[in-house]
């Protein structure tokens, strides 16, 4: 690299880092201000955590974080399990109709939630689960299928055939082969999927906005949106509430960043 190229590279990356981080740092600083009448920063040294407790109380954070946690805790493992089982079948077994059925899941990658949300809402209303966690959980599980099944079919396809045959020769059942051979080998792909699903479910907005109306059951994102819409604008508390809602996924991202990025780079852009 010539000196000029090096300079251009460094300048490019510096600008990018500032563009990426300045808004994040700015909002965190607003959340830590003792007083901020107009949403700006008044002091860089005199900081407080008090706004977080204000946000916690005024923004109904404990209720909404619990709602989101319950929804994630049920929907992510359920979805991951369904996708893993289906991925194992699509990736390692041969049966009539396999191709068209996998095609159905791949076709469904193109169906965005806007195209189905209206009937889903009325179906759940008739079933009587609108305004409960189940309406959100069942919808999230369904919407996790197209990408998850496709992603794990690929992963299970990568399990060497000799290993599967060796397991059969040792008289392992299909289930045992899954539990003891194929499943453990695909664990990295399965945890990547679970991490992505956690992020998608936690960050989701439109669907839970439609499904849940009771204050105590709102998800974290919907609750934050309502908090912003209230008449009394408390800028520091609003900034603190934003930080609280973002924190679970950002924390997971910090620890699992390679998995998140690998998932995205291989085409994990959810419809």
């Amino acid at each position: 690299m010539t000196k000029r190229e090096l300079w251009v590279t460094n300048a490019c990356l510096t600008i990018a880092v500032v563009f990426a981080l300045a808004p994040v740092v700015g909002i965190v600083l607003v959340a830590l201000q003792v007083t901020s009448p107009g949403g700006g920063i008044t002091s860089l040294t005199n900081l407080t955590l008090h706004n977080f407790s204000t946000a916690w109380a005024q923004g109904y954070m404990s209720d909404s974080l619990r709602s989101s946690a319950i929804i994630v805790a049920i929907s992510v493992p359920t979805a991951t399990l369904c996708c893993t089982l289906a991925g194992y079948a699509f990736g390692t077994m041969r049966w009539p109709g396999r191709g068209p059925l996998l095609g159905l899941f791949v076709f469904a990658l193109m169906i965005p939630i806007e195209g189905t949300l209206i009937p889903i809402y009325f179906i759940w209303r008739d079933v009587g689960i609108v305004d409960t966690y189940w309406a959100v959980i069942l919808t999230e599980v369904g919407y996790s299928m197209p990408f998850g099944v496709f992603w794990l079919s690929q992963a299970f396809r990568g399990v060497p055939r000799e290993l599967l045959e060796a397991a059969r020769i040792d008289r392992a059942s299909t289930w045992q082969t899954f539990r003891l051979v194929a499943g453990p080998m695909c664990m990295p792909a399965i945890t990547t999927l679970a991490a992505l699903q956690f992020m998608w479910v936690w960050n989701d907005f439109l669907m839970p906005l439609v499904m849940i109306s009771s204050q105590g059951r709102l998800t974290a994102t919907v609750s934050l949106s309502f908090f912003q819409g209230e008449y009394v604008v408390n800028y520091t508390a609003l900034a603190a509430a934003s930080v609280i809602v973002a924190l679970p996924v950002v924390t997971a991202y910090i620890f699992l960043q390679r998995k998140f990025i690998a998932g995205f780079a291989s085409g994990a852009v959810k419809a």
């Binding site: 590279t9 990356l13 563009f19 990426a20 981080l21 994040v24 909002i27 107009g38 949403g39 700006g40 920063i41 996708c83 289906a86 194992y88 079948a89 390692t92 077994m93 041969r94 049966w95 059925l101 996998l102 159905l104 899941f105 791949v106 076709f107 990658l109 965005p112 806007e114 195209g115 189905t116 209206i118 009937p119 179906i123 069942l138 599980v141 369904g142 919407y143 299928m145 197209p146 990408f147 099944v149 496709f150 599967l164 992020m199 960050n203 439609v210 949106s225 912003q228 609003l238 809602v245 996924v249 950002v250 991202y253 990025i261 995205f264 780079a265 085409g267 994990a268 852009v269 419809a271």
Partner: protein, 307 residues
Amino acid sequence: MNGEVALARSKRRAKAGAHGEPRLLAFAYIAPALLALTVVLLVPLGITVWLSLEHWAGVGHMTWAGLANYRVLLHDSFVNAAVKNALRLTIFYSVFPIVIGFLIASALARVNARLRTPLRALLFLPATIAPVVVAVGWRLIYTPATGLLDQVLRGIGLSSLSQDWLGSFNLALPSTGVVATWIEYGLVMVLFLAGIQKIPDELYDAARIDGAGHWAELWHVTLPGLRNELMVAIVVTVIASFRNFDLVYNLTSGGPGTATDVPVLEVYRRAFQYGDVGSGAALGVTIVALIAVITLVALAITRRWLR
């Protein structure tokens, strides 16, 4: 989801012929996933098409509408504004992220690997934050006169540039667009970086022997090497532009007037607020059809490249 990649891969699969063990037990393994897919995606998609052909307020009787709901959309000023805005926003959702993502990815490819991984993680951070949080945060930043942006402008002596960023008819859309770019560029960057690392070093060596400079290298080696990634990036970001809801709902609610109204916001309002399920469903069907067309066209083009 970039369905076109998925489709391309599954076709190649099918050509590779039968594989694995013959097991009818497979049906038991796919049953839960297939059930969830059918109940939440396939059946509702069909019902949306049916609802789009009815007049219905969400309760009470339905009356057959035929294509009336679609005709209404064509002449509706809100829908027209929303579609125009979605098209304008593709500049911020698609063009800017692709340019920025390309520049960052090519710069990242040149720094040493120990610096590259943490930098990539840092630069991808905006894409992981919930769009709702991003919108609430940026609305704070855009607060007229007292918000962070105007504070920074004042700090560097440019307070004359202060604006009502989200409240003015001319600025609301570009201000929203900047936030969209902030969310989208990370994904493009990650796609391009993975693509660049697959370009063989020999191509760069050959270019250098031919006396290509740095920019010539980017233009003649890196960019052509990224055409599949570029196609994926275009499809994904254009679709994101037409699916925008979280951002606009929380930044501007579509205002002022219809300055930042978008199609999905209209779907939501019609079906869940105005009690006009039919035209909401018709707009939903239109968005799905549009996404399918974009994806399939891109798939056809990519296939031709692969041949």
